[in-house]
């Protein structure tokens, strides 16, 4: 399993390196703008950093889906499926790698964003004012704190991981039961959307106040999405073990 994980990390190294290099460049632009008091670089750096942070986590997930698709549909699949590892391990390594990457990169961007906001605050005002500004920005947040920010980030990342694992399921369906059938891609996409909507519907029916900026609710959201994620993982791995030909 550790070896599988090692190679899954290696496969995604390129895209992660691109995201990190881009972030480093934008951070430098942002800091030059901040301490050189140049408005344009400050605005551009901050804006693009926010965009990179939002897109970066999404890119990691989408890239994992593309990798699975390649691992099932190209000759490189032999590298995985001729090794003495069952599909639970092979898929498990992919899910863990994706989950860890989303979590680490997501937390990295959350921490970086928090740090940058503090730097702006230190430069232009008091720390307390910074939190006041943040509270104004997110007026619905009753009790804004670092822990709220991180638990909210965790809930977003967990629900995103669920989407990625559901996409894994759709990719595997496409390579097994739907393989060679007309509208294969479209059908698997519809199944992906249907499952996502169904799980979203069930979540909304839960007797909780659906406020993602509430720390307790954020943790409930994270906990909720782990259940269908694990379920999708087992179903997908079972299909791979019993029906997949590469």
């Amino acid at each position: 399993m550790l070896n599988l994980l090692k190679y899954e990390f290696r496969k995604t190294l390129g895209v992660k390196a691109i995201i990190l290099v881009l972030t480093a460049v934008l951070e430098i632009v942002f800091l030059i703008g901040l301490y050189g008091e140049f408005d344009a670089p400050l605005g551009i750096g901050a804006g693009l950093l926010f965009t990179t942070a939002s897109v970066g986590v999404i890119v990691i997930g989408i890239y994992s889906i593309i990798l699975l698709r390649n691992d099932l549909n190209t000759k490189q699949s032999y590298m995985l499926f001729m090794t003495p590892n069952n599909s639970y391990k092979i898929l498990g390594a992919k899910v863990i790698e994706c989950g860890l990457s989303i979590f680490i990169i997501g937390m990295f961007f959350t921490a970086l964003g928090f740090l940058d906001l503090m730097l702006v605050s230190q430069k232009f005002g008091e720390i307390e004012e910074f939190f006041e500004v943040i509270k104004l920005m997110f007026s619905e947040i009753a009790d804004f704190s670092a822990s709220t920010l991180f638990s909210t980030a965790l809930s977003v990342m967990t629900s995103w991981l669920f989407s990625v694992v559901t996409a894994f399921f759709a990719v595997v369906l496409s390579a097994t039961f739907l393989n060679g059938k007309k509208f294969n891609g479209l059908i698997s996409l519809v199944i992906f959307i249907a499952i996502s909507l169904l799980v979203g519907y069930i979540f909304n029916k839960l007797p909780f106040d659906n406020d993602i900026y509430d720390m307790k609710m954020a943790l409930i959201t994270a906990g909720f999405y782990i259940i269908p994620t694990v379920l999708m993982y087992f179903v997908t791995a079972w299909i791979m073990d019993n029906k997949l030909s590469v």
Binding site: Y7, G14, Y78, P84, N85
Partner: protein, 234 residues
Amino acid sequence: MLESIEITKKFIGKTAVDNISMKLEAGHIYALLGPNGSGKTTWMKMVTGLIKPTSGYVMYNGTPIGIPSRKDIAYMATEPYFYDWMTIEGVGKYYQDFFDDFSMDKYHMMLNRMELDRSTKTKTLSSGMMAKLKVAVTMAREAKVYLLDEPLNGIDLIARDDVMKTMIENAREDNMLIISSHLVEELESFVDSAIFIKDARLAGIFNIEELRQSEGLSLADKYREIFGHAGGEY
């Protein structure tokens, strides 16, 4: 022992392997012969577990093939299948990480003999170098069953000699080699048995020495007899 029991693989609109049953024993080098599309590759992939049969099954030492049998079965596909970012050394490390029977020393020895530079990226290899690499990394395993799909395809005479030498050196009493190829004359010099597959069905298994003695036919003659225009139905 490897046993293929009434194994069939159907794809949409085509039967790639049709009800093939045969027993193969250790201590032999088998040639797997048949024209393009006859089902050789599909049969090999089913033995490796890469393709699930539509019906029938494969037994390895009395047990249906599965994850444990992959520890003993080494498969070399026709097409390049290494990750683009890997170097030749990296391919060896990958095999070492996943296969307990892989010998890095043996791999390095074969790379040296085949004049392959360990630091070369696999995506830059010529077809001849790729063929040598595939054989080297596969044969560096101490497997019980080697399935080599078209190992002599698209390579020059010198590379072919290297590949054939490597295969012969690794044949032992406790393992079996199953080699598919269209180059019947080359195979005849070192295989002892031949499996003929025609139109997805088994057309016969022959001991080459017996063929020579009882029918006065070489392997190439038998190939022509089975697959030539006058070839009979099996």
